[in-house]
């Protein structure tokens, strides 16, 4: 499997950055995106429309710089697109639009929409008898404030939606935090969950492939150093 080295990704990211400063939210997401695209997701530029592809839904749509850089590094979109990100003729907004960017499964930006869309996607695949593909939704710990997530967590847990994985990028940005750990919000509803160091690629890989297939799975990737 092709892997994306940090050096490769950095070059693409610098084209998006164009001299601007990125916040911690961009850097804290890079490792989990790399592990997903390098080692977990069964998606390539050639299988964008394959109904049996894995789905990756970026719910925290503001974490877009690393996402675009990674999609470019993996050949989903031309690297030249990165140079004018957010410009009047650009297809790459500050939040992604699925109709404009190859490889982007949902348009996001307003928080709390990805997990509900992910539940529906998982249900659609199940009703079509597609047992192969898996649905991964990336959220932030502050995004978890939105009540819509808790509607989705409760329902997916109660019905044992086994082809769904929620990845919670926990960079400790929720205003009131999640006492007892964010994972408990999932496990109390019947999900399996793993909490790992969001910088440790092997730990992330183990967690992201640690589902049992009979219930939804949550991966809490903790990144506290922020950069």
């Amino acid at each position: 499997m092709t892997t994306t080295t940090a050096t490769d990704l950095g070059a693409f990211l610098n084209r998006v950055r164009a001299g601007r400063e990125f916040g911690a939210n961009v850097y804290s997401t890079l490792d989990v995106l790399q592990v997903l695209y390098d080692r977990v997701l069964r998606i390539t530029p050639a299988t964008l429309d394959d109904p049996d592809r894995d789905r990756f839904l970026l719910s925290k749509g503001h974490a877009v710089a690393g996402y675009y850089a990674l999609l470019a590094a993996r050949g989903f979109l031309p690297a030249e697109w990165l140079d004018d990100q957010g410009g009047p003729a650009s297809r790459l907004g500050d939040h992604p639009d699925r109709t404009l960017v190859p490889g982007v499964e949902i348009g996001s930006g307003s928080l709390g929409h990805g997990l509900g869309l992910g539940v529906g996607t998982a249900l659609g695949l199940r009703s079509q008898g597609r047992t192969g593909p898996r649905v991964y939704v990336l959220l932030g710990d502050a995004e978890l404030d939105e009540g819509s997530n808790h509607e989705a967590i409760a329902y997916a847990g109660a019905t044992g939606l086994g082809n769904l994985t929620a990845i919670l990028l926990d960079n400790r940005s929720a205003t009131y935090g999640w006492p007892g750990g964010a994972a408990s919000r999932f496990t109390v509803n019947g999900w399996s969950a793993a909490t790992v160091d969001g910088r440790d690629h092997d730990a992330l890989h183990a967690a992201l492939t640690g589902h049992d297939g009979h219930r939804p799975h949550a991966v809490v990737a903790v990144v506290t150093d922020g950069e």
Binding site: L117, G120, T121, R126, Q128, E151
Partner: protein, 295 residues
Amino acid sequence: MSSTMRDAFVTSTEEVLADPRTTVVLADISAAAFEPAAARYPDRVINVGIREQLMIGVAGGLALTGQRPIVHSYAPFLVERAYEQIKLDLDHQDVGAVLVGIGGSYDRAAAGRTHLGPADVALLDTLDGWTVHVPGHPDEVRPLLRDAVCGQDSAYLRLSVQANTQAHPQAGDLHVVRDAGPGAPLLVAVGPVLDAAVEATADRPVTVAYTHRPRPFDTAGLRALAGTEVILVEPYLAGTSTRVVSETLADRPHRLLALGVGRGDLRRYGSAEDHERWHGLDAAGLRRSVDAFLT
């Protein structure tokens, strides 16, 4: 009347579930009525519990996989509570669903403001490309639902316990119910207000046209039928279609009277008939408004 619009919706939905793309999404409302269908199609009749944001989000996700969702609840919970999900999880994802609301404007009058939904069509009218069906009789529901489910785009079926005595199944485009001749004032009645409108103008020189599809509005039919005076009678928020009539007749001097449900919270209970009267949508109220407009 032997059956209601909701009965017709449930029966028609059981038919279209034969297509493996069709998927029903509920939030407890009408779940009991769909139990036989759920037993037959357990993966395609989904009840998410009392979670309206999830209900629309699930519909968006299903549509992204190629399924055709039918989403159903009371109008205020379906359209108003989850408006951002409709805007983003359906429209912005470039996918469609069929939304089926019950309760109309004031079917559940005694339940009070929380269960009234007069603003649903106006709210969907802030979005682009929605088809809105407002059947006026239970027999109009089945063909409208089947057509909507066969399409790809988003559609809203607005069901009510209010109904006309006679069905007009092919009245998407304006259907002339009474012709008062060229140049006569034109009254357009949408859905279940037709009978009251016809009674109100029985001895008046007014052409009455009916439609159960206010969006897209039959603008060609409106231009063909309209003289100088146009009267809109809609069973939801008054003025919802004013914009459409004004744009359609922008090049012609005309006068418009737009009747419908008022904006205020009346803080009154009673029956649907009471609210119809309070909003001036019964035959006597309509006659008063039409006479004042035409004299």
